[in-house]
Subunit: 253 residues, 2 copies
């Protein structure tokens, strides 16, 4: 199953969720590929030192029929593989401005590779541009991390419009696997009200488990690690393990 | 003086800083224009209800010689004016992909209008694309909000590369007015270490005043208000007032 993690609002936990969901799936014995489709390379930097990542997914967009297999690397975690991003991915939007099949590049590249993995998780940039659209076109499901705060809620409709448009134009099987509430601080009325609003909007799509603020989640990238390797007993690790189990359940349906 | 608030990392407080700095300058009697150059429209939504913002800065990019004056609106705060964004600004990147003067659109539009204001503050999206470049090309100074955490620090060099390239190609007077540490939680070693790293990188450019986590700052957009109107006695208001005073000092030099 190919899952995109997306939300055009910045800093809502897309990368934290992509990295730790992919690691969680690998931990559960699923052969998992994490694709970093964000030129910021935050997910890439968790698994690879800068000098290790000359290869990237850029040729998927710039060359004809580029074999994605060539840039898929093992990570230190068993079952977990990653396809790195690069800052140069940022120019893809204007480079492919004219091309009719621009939204389909990643889907085509994944078609030869998807059967080698149980799960593919795609991290995306904070935008609804060509990279995010490519991820959505290529995917079976999307997970939407949302922080319970005013501006994050305002952006949801724009995301859903893009989702709907991709579904209708390119990918009728695309559906929302779920919505994860991230960076939840239960002590504030603001956050609790916002969570209620998210539940009103999305009903059962909202994962039971919300991710609370946990310093370990913020620290782990500094140690080039996912949360399970870095701090397995933290609430962050427990929460992302529950999220992983819930994803596995929902993936069955 | 025209100031861009920029950082391609998502959710580091660009909009919170743009809105509250602009409001602070207005409070100090400076005639201030806030330009929302982010298709997410977070800054716009603080000052205008959705039905109030049919006008936007989009024609600056899509039409020849569009008078920016036509879309500048008063806000409820004396001295504070705003030019709204729109989701449709997102397509500007690919629309202008071929045009030689694409980076200069905002600068040209501002040239007729800048003498009507003491300060112009430009909020930008989490990307180093055409909208952010337009803002940098049009500006005298840039303020960089940075959260003291690993991924935010990793992105600084990419930002500086873009800054340098804009400066050399289009705008030799562009300089960094300062770096603001945002969402600082002094209780964590991670944040304190990261602040030291930021100070090592930027020296005196770092504002003395760091913005601590303050729930009032997160709440105020829900009440369509800047922090000074919403919660003038909060630490968030005090901090952004100090930031405003420091900006005024630095603008003199
Ligand atoms: N539950 C959490 N508790 C504490 N910190 C968190 C949590 N989730 C994420 N963070 C931190 O918050 C910041 C933003 O998270 P992250 O980078 O995952 O968001 P993003 O949506 O991928 O951002 P962008 O839009 O820039 O891609 C990071 O520094 C991250 O380490
Ligand atoms: N000092 C603070 N304390 C608490 N919350 C804050 C603080 N500064 C910003 N926030 C909140 O954090 C979130 C991210 O801030 P903001 O939207 O200003 O960042 P941004 O860099 O403009 O994001 P984007 O990259 O999406 O444009 C918002 O919900 C905002 O209200
Ligand atoms: Mg990210
Ligand atoms: Mg913003």
């Amino acid at each position: 199953m190919i899952i995109t993690v997306a939300n055009q609002k910045g800093g809502v936990g897309k990368t934290t969720t992509s990295v730790n969901l992919a690691a969680g799936l690998a931990l559960k014995g699923k052969r998992t590929l994490l694709i970093d489709a964000d030129p910021q390379c935050n997910a890439t930097s968790v698994f690879f030192a800068p000098e290790e990542t000359e290869d990237s997914i850029l040729p998927v967009f710039t060359e004809k029929n580029f074999p994605l297999k060539n840039v898929i690397k093992e990570t230190e975690r068993e079952n977990l593989f990653a396809a790195p991003s690069t800052i140069r991915l940022a120019k893809v939007e204007r480079m492919l401005a004219g091309e009719i099949d621009a939204p389909l590049k990643l889907k085509k590249a994944l078609s030869d590779v998807r059967n080698l993995f149980d799960f593919v998780v795609i991290d995306t940039p904070p935008s609804l541009g060509l990279l995010t659209v490519n991820a959505l076109v290529a995917s079976d499901r999307v997970i939407i991390p949302i922080t319970p705060s005013p501006w994050a809620l305002e952006g949801v409709q724009d995301f859903l419009d893009t989702f709907k448009s991709v579904k209708e134009t390119f990918n009728e099987n695309l559906s929302i696997l779920g919505v994860i509430v991230t960076m939840f601080d239960p002590r504030t009325v603001l956050a609790r009200d916002a969570v209620n609003e998210i539940k009103a909007m999305f009903g059962d799509l909202v994962f039971k488990e919300a991710i609370h603020r946990n310093i370990r989640l913020e620290e782990s990238p500094a140690y080039q690690s996912d949360i399970f390797a870095f701090s397995p007993n933290s609430t962050g690790a427990e929460s992302y393990l529950k999220i992983t189990e819930e994803v596995l359940k929902r993936a069955e349906r």
